[in-house]
Symmetry: C2
DNA sequence: ACCTGAACACCGTTCAAGT
DNA sequence: ACCTGAACACCGTTCAAGT
């Protein structure tokens, strides 16, 4: 029994505990996200980081989902402005790629974005940019509106899918074994296409193909009235 | 101190506690899913239902993600066979719609399907069906393989998005307010398209438009080598 | 081999009480 | 008004021990 005084030792570290604000909370959340991933961005952990109790955060943030949405919108500011060079299709693809790249770094965030769509300023700017590009391509307005939804959903879903938190390759390995062991009799098409279906190379190319395919479809597929 | 014998009273209820099996676990999981949603399909709740401790389940199931994947594959058996009438495009859309409808009933399951892709027999059958239909439409094989991915990802993501577990309309209301209050100066395209962007009517039509758009793109957009 | 009690290390959210 | 301690009602997963 050496030294029984486990008094507030941490007091020295964080000297002038800053007042809580919504922005302060969000940036603390981003710091944790960057350092340890979204799964650690919990009310409790965040409160600990801010030297308070979890209950205090509920003054500024309705719940965990809202917190995650705020984090995403903040990160959206990172994506950067629309490119000015090249065909509208090229520029559109570039914007979407930038958005996807950001989400690829935080796949769990992408997953949460699927359910809690952000509504912050940066998200609005992104939508405006995409609509402007489609307008430049003379895509009819109604088609463009649905198209933006489609493009953003695809980008978000691709990032979310990529983000296997836990065992990334384990269930993928299972799929590979199943596909490779498949009977040509019962599943001729899968057997014939096993390579392509399982190919994991050139994800950039896949993503790009996806966007171009969507854009081609959006250009052509009129909205019924 | 009345009666100190709190002996196994539940013994009477569940008379011949059945032996644990993987299939038994999965169907108990589906029962809970149907009755109370995926968020209640936890190891602990499931164990309770099966009259055992959570640790016992780990003999048959690696973790929660794997359990969810097994549940999804089981439910995939519900979707039914490929339709035989109509244009290949129509039939393709019908299969996808059936798959999506199933996921719409369990949106949280869709969300988990995004990360833990199932690899069970029913999933394989679905892929085979889709590939066959694209082959019938004379879509080149490589394009078809990527296309199936694209279509399934879209269907799954649409269902996942739809599944706001908690407050479904709350952040959507926030989005609506933001969009309606937007400046025509800074965001002219959004302002002009507010109706379409916020329109929530005819989700069937939206989904259908999405599938047709994807199919149109897939038909046209060759895979670069 | 299969099963389990108990523990470890966490969660979100609420609420009554304090400042 | 803002902040908080403490509680409520849960989680997933592991591990040593039992049968």
């Amino acid at each position: 029994m050496t030294d029984r005084t486990d008094a507030p030792r941490s007091r020295r570290e964080r000297p002038a505990k800053p007042a809580l604000t919504r922005t302060g909370i969000v940036s603390a959340a981003i710091a944790i996200l960057r350092a340890e991933g979204l799964q650690k961005v919990t009310m409790r952990r965040l409160a600990q980081e801010l030297d308070t109790g979890p209950a205090s955060l509920y003054v500024y943030v309705r719940n965990t989902a809202e917190l995650h949405a705020a984090v995403l919108d903040e990160l959206l500011g990172t994506v950067g402005p629309a490119p000015t060079e090249g065909d509208w299709r090229e520029r559109l693809e570039r914007v979407l790629t930038a958005y996807t790249a950001m989400l690829f770094e935080h796949p769990t965030l992408a997953r949460s974005a699927l359910t809690a769509r952000p509504s912050g300023p940066n998200y609005l700017n992104l939508i405006e940019t995409l609509l402007a590009l489609l307008a430049e391509g003379e895509v009819p307005p109604a088609q463009a509106a649905l198209g933006v939804d489609l493009l953003l959903l695809h980008a978000t879903a691709t990032a979310a899918e990529h983000g296997a938190d836990s065992a990334p390759d384990e269930d993928w390995d299972a799929l590979r074994r199943t596909v490779e062991g498949i009977s040509e009799r019962t599943h001729p098409h899968i057997a014939a296409l096993a390579d392509v279906l399982l190919s994991t190379e050139d994800p950039q190319g896949r993503l790009s193909w996806g966007f171009r395919t969507l854009i081609a479809g959006i250009e052509r597929n009129a909205v019924a009235d």
